[in-house]
């Protein structure tokens, strides 16, 4: 059974839903018309600045294409599940699963994470939980010892010195006996009742990794976590879903993803020894692992049916550090993926992968032009630019609302857009300047 409860809107009456959809469509038409009008004002400048006009039309198309991509997600996913039946006609696919949880100084949350793993709706004899204590200096080891008492099958590997997340993961992967490895962050867990959905796609032999839908558990804490909650939802249910429509998810998120062990094991040492500009890479391990899966010719999917919770940074400083780390990971792995992706999937490479890189790199310059150069030197206010960003945010939000009417932090999409517009897009450059700093640096 597919548990779609958060996406279904069953608690609203049918007329309420019809009215709601009507409002969405109506607003959508207005927003799209506004986008067209806005583009028209730039097309107006075509003869003065043709590159800018082509750029803005292409960027808007690209941004909207993510929403359209996401619209195909369900269709694509169901098709894949249907195809799966030819490999597993009786629905008896039930592989052994190993959870691998690297942790360091997680005495508060590790217990709950382990508990949730064992609660998974799955035959106990087919589950295995491996925790790598990567040189914790707090009471983590103590907590693990107690957990071991409760769950005999728990495998604990205690390291006295910190070796890093990658090493911990690699060790866990090697220890794992299951056919499928579920990699969890120490502060994340998968909702036990949705666990099967994470394993289900592996019945299809061409699926190499599956990414669960993650939401921050501490979403309601403050505006920052609310905004991240909106961002998580958007980046999973829209951006990853759009990638998943083509069965090419580029990042099976580190907090809650599953891998087929026999694919991962052979490349584990190469992955472990990965270097960038001569130094070991300490971030983007999840991206990197997913890329390996893709490189080896397998497909990766995102499933909205398996749901995970994680903890997101509650303070700005942590949040920025995390963003910097993610940008670095994105950058290094984009270089890695660009070496093979155009051969493996030219369509995706040229409609999504390379355009994304281009847009991400150009956006900060455009934002700089709109907010600093134009107002100061040309006396052109940045209203049009802001309106463009805002309208795209509206269209994304409308789709967001369409997918989940219940998700209540949707207004924060605009907060995210605003912050992204004036600040976050520039973080990429900070990340690139400090790319030789390989410290982990969040917790």
């Amino acid at each position: 059974m597919i548990d779609n409860s958060i996406y279904h809107t069953k608690e609203y009456g049918i007329f309420s839903n019809i009215f709601f959809k009507f409002i969405l469509i109506f607003t959508g038409v207005i927003a799209f018309t506004s986008v067209i009008l806005l583009k028209a004002t730039t097309v107006d400048q075509y003869w003065r600045d043709p590159y800018l006009v082509v750029y803005t039309v292409l960027v808007t198309t690209f941004e909207l294409s993510r929403v359209f991509g996401a619209m195909f997600y369900n269709y694509s996913y169901k098709k894949m599940l249907k195809q799966k039946k030819s490999f597993d006609p009786n629905g008896i696919f039930e592989p052994t699963v190993s959870f691998v949880i690297p942790c360091k100084n997680e005495e508060k949350s590790i217990g709950k994470t382990i508990e949730k793993c064992f609660e998974s709706h799955y035959p106990k004899e087919k589950l295995e939980v491996i925790v790598i204590n990567d040189g914790s200096t707090d009471k983590t080891e103590e907590v693990l010892r107690q957990m071991k008492l409760r769950h005999e099958s728990l495998v604990v590997e205690n390291w006295s010195v910190n070796k890093g997340k990658r090493h911990a993961m690699a060790t866990g992967f090697k220890l794992a006996k299951g056919e499928i490895i579920v990699q969890l962050d120490s502060d994340s867990y998968i909702v036990p009742s949705t666990f099967r959905h994470l394993i289900e796609p592996f019945a299809h032999p061409e699926i190499g990794a599956v990414c669960a839908h993650a939401d921050p558990e501490n979403a309601g804490k403050n505006w920052l976590t609310k905004m991240q909650s909106a961002y998580y939802f958007m980046s999973f249910r829209i951006l990853k879903a759009a990638e998943s429509s083509f069965m090419l998810v580029f990042c099976c998120s580190g907090c809650s993803s599953a891998y087929r062990k026999d694919i991962v094991l052979p490349i584990l040492d190469t992955w472990l020894g990965e270097k960038f500009l001569g130094l070991p890479v300490t971030w983007g391990d999840d991206r990197s692992l997913t890329n390996w899966v893709l490189k080896l010719g397998y497909n990766t999917v995102y499933t909205s049916n398996a749901r995970a919770y994680t903890i997101c940074p509650e303070r700005l400083r942590q949040f920025i550090k995390q963003q910097v780390r993610w940008k670095k990971g994105w950058f290094v792995n984009s270089i890695f993926a660009s070496k093979f992706i155009y051969r493996r999937e030219p369509f995706i490479a040229f409609t999504y992968f390379f355009p994304l890189i281009a847009v991400t790199l150009i956006t900060p310059f455009m934002a700089f032009k709109a907010f600093v150069y134009n107002p100061v030197f040309l006396n052109i206010p940045p209203y049009l630019y802001m309106a463009g960003v805002f309208l795209v945010a509206i269209i994304i939000t409308l789709y967001y609302r369409h997918v989940s009417r219940r998700h209540k932090y949707w207004p924060y999409v605009f907060v995210w857009s605003a912050i992204n517009m004036v600040f976050l897009s520039f973080i990429l450059f900070y990340a690139l300047f400090t790319i030789q700093n390989r410290k982990w640096g969040t917790r």
Partner: protein
């Protein structure tokens, strides 16, 4: 092993659907952008224009034409207005960019006061064939073909049902320009029938190098400096260059619009008069232009009549540059100055608004007296009356003070500074001078030492069917007749001159122009202007009481007004009280005979006045407008009417009139016609039977209010 063979087909379908969707969105976005910026109905500018039009439509529906201000007469002259474009945030208000709000005010004011636009065809016929145009016609033109001009002006003109001409610079009609109109837009303008697209320039709307030092001058009026040959172009080369330019602009427009283009506006209004290195351009250039464009336009420079007159067959049409600072009110009064004036025309007070135009020297108005004087660099000064150009066969008399200068001239049949007839007065001679195409010709001269007063000098010139008479005071001093000059026409003016620089000045105190050749030239004597309060109880013929009907005589210090002979009534007014405005007019009189005694106030002439009409049966407040009497208020006369010692009074304040009898108010009325804002006092009597009306006036007392 191809590991992806199962998902591959499935993904193909998704990729196809996805690509199709995104492609459609991309096309919609690009195409919609293109459509919105193109010149179709859905174009942004057009949508905005339509909204503005609806808005203006509702405004102009309220702003009804004030019918009272429209006379259904034919117009003998027409003003042509020129604008360029509109101010916006990026274009500050300037000579060439008017604020839209101002323009709205100007156009709506024109509409309200009954002005209507004519088409270029109308103007051509008016100019060539003396075809008549309705009163208050004007032609609206816009130079340069700017987008802001079209999109701002069009909705308003459409709402007001006005049309206009644009003079376009064809070099600029690129689709990509967002300053100048494109060919598509020009086509749409022509199609709307509201706009007539005509020629301004191809690339000639600018400067060229005119000498070796790189000095710049207008393209059309100067010889170009040929750098490579180190010489200025020859006249032939100049002609060829101009012809090439004119051919280009004509062909451009005709091929774009598919309609003949026959008029042209000189860039900067320079038809050669501003040439820096080729003075002959002034004659040559208009002749070249005429080959391509029979009618051309330039900007009106001061010192000439501002309107264009019917049947003049001018190749050059004058245009009034509308000042960006003018309000609608300002524009109306500017147009009023140049508006054709009607004979009879008289004035004993002078001010800016009447349309006196200085063509030389200085002109100023002081205490309602007009004064012209030579300036620091001029030997003389001259002035003419705008709007008088079409006058023909009239008597022109004036009272002037000859202050300084050897030659004083009264001008009639004035067309411009090179064409007029002049009554020229010096200490030793009286001359009748004709200036024709700049050539001065003395038609007749009488040499004699003149013994005339320098102050309040009364001069008259009458020129009717080639017969010209000159008067000093009432005395005919010179007569000349030549049928060659019987077609002369033109306005009036004055000129003062001395051979010494800055030593000429004269004052003009009153003028009167009348049509009737037989009527005596009567000039309002400024010395007779009365001031308030005015009190008289001892009457004689020198006081300025003037009879207009019946008989006025004096007996034992009383004034007697009576009908005589076949006349059924009599009337008289007080000369010199014409400019009284708000006053209380009281009189004591004996009513000897007649059915009606009428006290007139704000008397303009026999056909226009306000009155208190007393008869045995009724009492009335009346106004007489253009010979039509209108009863404003009437009550039955229940008063005890003494025949002797009647004391009657009228107060006129603003548009209110109050009537008193024996010092008690009888009735009043508010809302007398606005034309009665000033006027003289007078009496009128009437009876059915001839020679049966008579009153004896013992006292008149007028106090200011």
């Amino acid at each position: 092993m191809n590991k992806r063979k199962h998902l591959k087909r499935h993904l193909m379908l998704i990729k196809f659907n996805f690509s199709f969707t995104v492609f459609v969105v991309f096309i919609i976005m690009s195409y919609a952008g293109y459509v919105i910026n193109s010149s179709s109905v859905f174009a942004k500018n057009n949508i905005i224009s339509s909204i503005r039009y609806l808005n203006y439509k509702s405004i102009s529906a309220q702003a009804k034409v004030n019918q009272a201000q429209v006379k259904n007469e034919a117009s003998t002259s027409i003003p042509v207005l020129v604008y360029h474009g509109f101010a916006s945030k990026s274009k500050p208000e300037s000579e060439y960019s008017i604020d839209l709000k101002k323009f709205e005010d100007q156009m709506i004011s024109l509409k309200k006061s009954g002005y209507r636009t004519v088409t270029l065809e109308d103007l051509k016929r008016f100019n060539n064939e003396n075809a008549s145009l309705p009163e208050k016609s004007f032609l609206l033109t816009f130079d340069d073909g700017r987008q802001d001009m079209y999109y701002n002006a069009d909705p308003l003109l459409r709402a007001l049902n006005y049309n206009a001409v644009i003079f376009d610079i064809t070099e600029k009609n690129d689709a990509g320009s967002n300053y100048y109109l494109s060919k598509d837009e020009l086509k749409r303008m022509t199609k709307s029938k509201r706009w007539d697209v005509e020629a301004h320039a191809y690339k000639g709307h600018g400067d060229i190098e005119i000498d070796a030092n790189g000095k710049k001058g207008h393209f059309f009026s100067n010889k170009q400096w040929l750098k490579d040959q180190n010489r200025a172009e020859t006249t032939d080369e100049y002609t060829a260059r101009i012809k090439d330019e004119l051919t280009h602009v004509k062909n451009d427009l005709e091929s774009t619009l598919n309609t003949p283009v026959t008029t042209f506006a000189y860039p900067y209004g320079d038809y050669g008069q501003e040439s820096l290195n080729f003075p002959e351009a002034k004659q040559l250039l208009p002749n070249i232009v005429k080959e391509y464009f029979p009618l051309s336009f330039y900007q009106y420079a001061s010192g000439a009549f501002s309107y264009n007159y019917a049947g003049e067959r001018n190749a050059l049409i004058k245009r009034i540059i509308v000042d960006s600072k003018w309000s609608g009110e300002n524009l109306l009064s500017e147009l009023a100055k140049g508006h054709s004036k009607q004979i009879p025309y008289s004035s004993n007070t002078f001010d800016q608004s009447q349309g006196w135009v200085s063509s030389w020297g200085n002109l100023n108005f002081d205490n309602r007296i007009m004064k012209i004087e030579s300036g620091k660099d001029s030997a003389g000064s001259s002035v003419f009356l705008d709007g008088s150009k079409s006058w023909k066969n009239y008597s022109f008399s004036s009272t002037v003070n000859w202050e300084k200068g050897s030659d004083l001239s009264v001008l009639s049949n004035y067309l411009d500074d090179n064409n007029y007839l002049s009554f020229n007065l010096t200490q030793s001679s009286v001359r009748l001078v004709l200036k024709n195409m700049g050539e001065q010709k003395i038609l007749k001269e009488i040499k004699r030492e003149l013994d005339v007063p320098k102050d309040n000098l009364s001069l008259g010139i009458r020129s009717i069917d080639g017969k010209t008479s000159l008067f000093i005071g009432d005395k005919l001093v010179l007569e000349y007749e030549n049928s060659e000059y019987k077609d002369l026409y033109g306005g009036v003016g004055f000129k003062i001159w001395d051979k010494q620089i800055n030593n000429a000045s004269m004052q003009i105190k009153s003028i009167k122009i009348v049509k009737d050749s037989d009527q005596n030239v009567v000039v309002v004597d400024p010395t007779k202007i009365k001031s308030l309060p005015y009190k008289i109880n001892s009457f004689n013929q020198d006081l300025g009481w003037t009879k207009t009907w019946g008989t006025l005589r004096y007996n034992q210090e009383a004034m007697i007004l009576e009908s005589t002979g076949d006349g059924t009534g009599a009337s008289s007014y007080l000369q010199g009280s014409e400019n009284w405005q708000e006053y209380s007019y009281q009189t004591k009189l004996d009513w000897s005979k007649g059915s009606n005694v009428i006290l007139m106030a704000r008397y303009l002439d026999e056909k226009n006045y306000v009155s208190f009409n007393i008869s045995d049966q009724y009492l009335r407040i009346e106004q007489r407008v253009d010979d039509q009497t209108e009863i404003l208020k009437e009550i039955k006369n229940e008063l005890n009417m003494p025949k002797y010692g009647l004391d009657v009074k009228i107060d006129v304040v603003g548009n209110k009139i109050v009537c008193y009898f024996q010092n008690s108010p009888i009735f009043d009325f508010i809302g007398i016609n606005s034309k009665f804002n000033k006027g003289a006092i007078g009496f009128k009597i009437w009876d059915q039977a001839p020679a049966n009306a008579k009153i004896i006036i013992n006292e008149v007392l007028v106090d200011p209010l």
